[in-house]
């Protein structure tokens, strides 16, 4: 019985668990003030754990707190309200630390 319940839960987990990081490709991201404004806007979400901004890769990466998520529409609206154009939003299994390391390695 317990085994059956556990198996069912395990099947459900991947469907509801948020991705490790949310990556956002942004146009117009050329200066520290741009990055500062975007970071401030995204950190205002209660679900935000941490934010990384790369001008080089024109990328904003965001990690949410465990068990929490932010909808793509909300992220898109936050970036648009900050004055920037969102090209794409994609969810990755990488942790934010891994994203940081990847961005550092590319420099």
């Amino acid at each position: 019985m317990y085994k059956h319940v556990f198996s069912t839960l395990m099947l459900l987990v991947p469907a509801v668990a948020p991705a490790a990081t949310i990556e956002i490709d942004v146009n117009g991201l050329v200066c520290a003030f741009c990055a500062q404004g975007i970071e401030k806007k995204l950190r205002a979400f209660p679900a935000t754990e941490d934010v990384v901004v790369s001008l080089e890769q024109k990328l904003v990466a965001l990690a949410t707190k465990p068990g929490q998520d932010i909808a793509d529409d909300e992220i898109r609206r936050a970036l648009t309200d900050a004055g920037y154009a969102v090209k794409a939003i994609h969810r990755e299994d990488e942790t934010l630390d891994a994203v940081r390391a990847r961005l550092k390695a590319k420099r």
Binding site: V26, N27, G28, L29, V30, C31, A32, F33, C34, A35, Q36, G37, I38, K40, K41, A44, V53, S54, L55, E56, K58, D81, A82, G83, Y84, A85, R107
Partner: protein, 220 residues
């Protein structure tokens, strides 16, 4: 006069270039951000400003401007409230460009008129920026029943390396500034080093007459 015509031609060409390239600028740093700025402009202009931006396209605030003519004994001091408006922004793949406009009202005193006068201000800025190149044209007009003067500033910047968010950004900037209203003779050129990191921006340089020009700006 020849300098002025040459300056205006150059300014028009750069403005057209900025417009073609689809420009961006920074009297508004970012939404929900506060900007504090102080500038010492080679003994001719000193200005402090503080603005708050409730939106990325609007900031409200005020400042104090002091102008000292290098031609005659003329000093003006203006305290003003101002609204900055982002007319348009172009977010490009590797660049950003803006056109800003502003308007304000203030109170002016000076040694060439009595009492204080209502000061009316209007201006615009167009700029285009990549991580290596920066072009900006700004024009700021102040008028009252006692005076009318305009300060036009053109800046061309070059970054020796492409900085990232956490890096110290360094820029070499050449500036040409023209004052109307018998404030300064000819076009004043300045050569500046601009450094910024995070929300702090410091700029220092010298004019072609050997006078210092300094600027500090903080965004938070």
């Amino acid at each position: 006069m020849r300098h002025t015509i040459r300056f205006m031609r150059l300014a028009s060409a750069l403005l057209a270039l900025a417009a073609l390239a689809q420009a961006e600028a920074k009297p508004i740093a970012f939404a929900n951000g506060t900007t504090i700025m102080a500038e010492y402009g080679a003994g001719t202009m000193e200005e402090v400003q503080a603005f708050y931006a409730p939106f990325y396209w609007l900031s409200l605030g005020g400042g104090h401007l002091r102008l000292d003519s290098d031609q005659i004994s003329r000093t003006r001091e203006i305290d003003y409230f101002r609204a900055n408006y982002l007319v348009h922004r172009w977010n490009l793949e590797d660049a950003q460009a803006n056109v800003f406009a502003w308007a304000g009202l203030g109170s002016a005193t000076g040694n060439d008129f009595r009492g204080s006068r209502l000061d009316r201000e209007a201006g615009f800025q167009a700029d285009y920026e990549t991580r290596r190149i920066y072009v900006s044209l700004m024009s700021d007009l102040h008028e009252s029943s006692a005076y009318s003067h305009r300060v036009d500033t053109l800046q061309l910047g070059f970054a020796p390396y492409a900085h990232d968010y956490t890096d110290l950004a360094a820029w070499f900037v050449v500036q040409a500034r023209n004052y109307t209203g018998v404030l300064h003779r000819g076009v004043e050129r300045a050569y500046l080093l601009r450094l910024f990191k995070g929300g702090a921006w410091i700029e220092a340089g010298v004019t072609d007459h050997g006078k210092p020009q300094l600027m500090a700006m903080f965004n938070f």
